[in-house]
Symmetry: C2
DNA sequence: GGTCAGAGACCAACCGGTCTGTCTTATGGG
DNA sequence: CCCATAAGACAGACCGGTTGGTCTCTGACC
């Protein structure tokens, strides 16, 4: 693992717990065991480091949450798999994200004080929402949803549920409550399908 | 309005947008139009100011969200009213909380760096969850929920949905999406009741 | 004249970022 | 093979600016 990778990895950890603004360059330097020169040799500013860390975070997110989705036929099953991935492989990954979902945390922190950085995060949310909506539409097209179900509303509900779960898990780090939350969303999905 | 009240009010606004750590004492002083002496005459530290602001925030939360609940008989209707209050009187209150739900924002920010302050916030969440659960239990006891409904899971789902809505609204400030989110939760409630 | 809210100079600690210097490694001509 | 040289990686002193907090002083009111 190169120094650059170590810095990105450590930034991920610290940004996820303390946020972007409250993590000082020195915090990262100390944890990695390097110096100003070592960091600014690879990144031209703290913001540059942020973007690199965010990019890495997205890759990890995909790797954790989309694993095994392609093996499933039914769109609704894909969403359920996504939910259990969130529980088992993403939120539980205390190595990379000890502070919970880094995207939710950063979105909340940055929206009013670093809008251009927040936009980066929000675009990811938009894509995620779109993905859920698309899967629900496929399920509906296959005639497997109860009559009168509005896939847009359902997608919004699922997304809200996931985000709420992330915040809750960030707050209390209770595995039991995490299980409850994911189960509740899966129950909801069962309710609307035939 | 006394200087002390002005400071609390302004702190509320700024904490809700920029969070606790990233709001500097100077930011507040400038907005209020006073000086270090004026602030530290009333509060012994930034943390002391935080607690005062949090207490005020709770009072406003109750006033906005619990309004009109007592006029309703059915517990489920109370929850629905709570949801529309959230939409119309709480999240939309840009005067006091221009940055969205201050509790969610603070919980996310403080959980890993100021645990003793975060605990204050989380206790409020716990009470809120308890309130929803109690209302659902009453509804179930009255035989108005479909068979096999787990009120604990439902309460968790509603809470997650609300928190997710808060985060989403904080992120994009879209009134339309806020309406969608609240509607989705209300639809969910209709689904599980008879 | 005593009291106290408020003003603002001041402090040490810390912030992100720059800059110089050192040490290691790669390169290339004889 | 040897050594001059260039290049990149990293260390850490240093910079101006900002942080939360203290302290002294002013001036209005009783």
């Amino acid at each position: 693992m190169t120094l650059k990778e170590k810095i990105i990895h450590e930034s991920l950890r610290q940004f996820s717990t303390k946020g972007f603004m409250s993590t000082s360059i020195n915090d990262i330097l100390e944890a990695v065991g390097t110096s100003k020169g070592g960091l600014y040799n690879h990144f031209k500013s703290k913001e540059d480091l942020f973007l690199a860390a965010l990019s890495e975070a997205r890759q990890i997110w995909r790797q954790r949450n989309l694993a095994g989705l392609n093996q499933l036929e039914r769109p609704l099953e894909k969403i359920k798999k996504l939910l259990t991935n969130y529980r088992d492989h993403y939120l539980a990954d205390l190595e990379n994200f000890p502070g919970g979902c880094i995207f939710v945390n950063l979105a909340v922190e940055l929206n009013d004080q670093q809008p251009h950085l927040a936009r980066e995060v929000n675009e990811g949310f938009e894509r995620f929402r779109g993905m859920i909506k698309r899967l629900m539409d496929q399920e509906k097209a296959a005639g497997r949803l109860k009559d009168g179900i509005d896939t847009g509303l359902v997608a919004e509900m699922i997304f809200s549920g996931i985000v709420g779960t992330c915040v809750t898990y960030t707050s209390d780090k209770s595995r039991k409550r995490l299980d409850h939350n994911i189960e509740a969303i899966i129950d909801y999905l069962s309710m609307i399908s035939t």
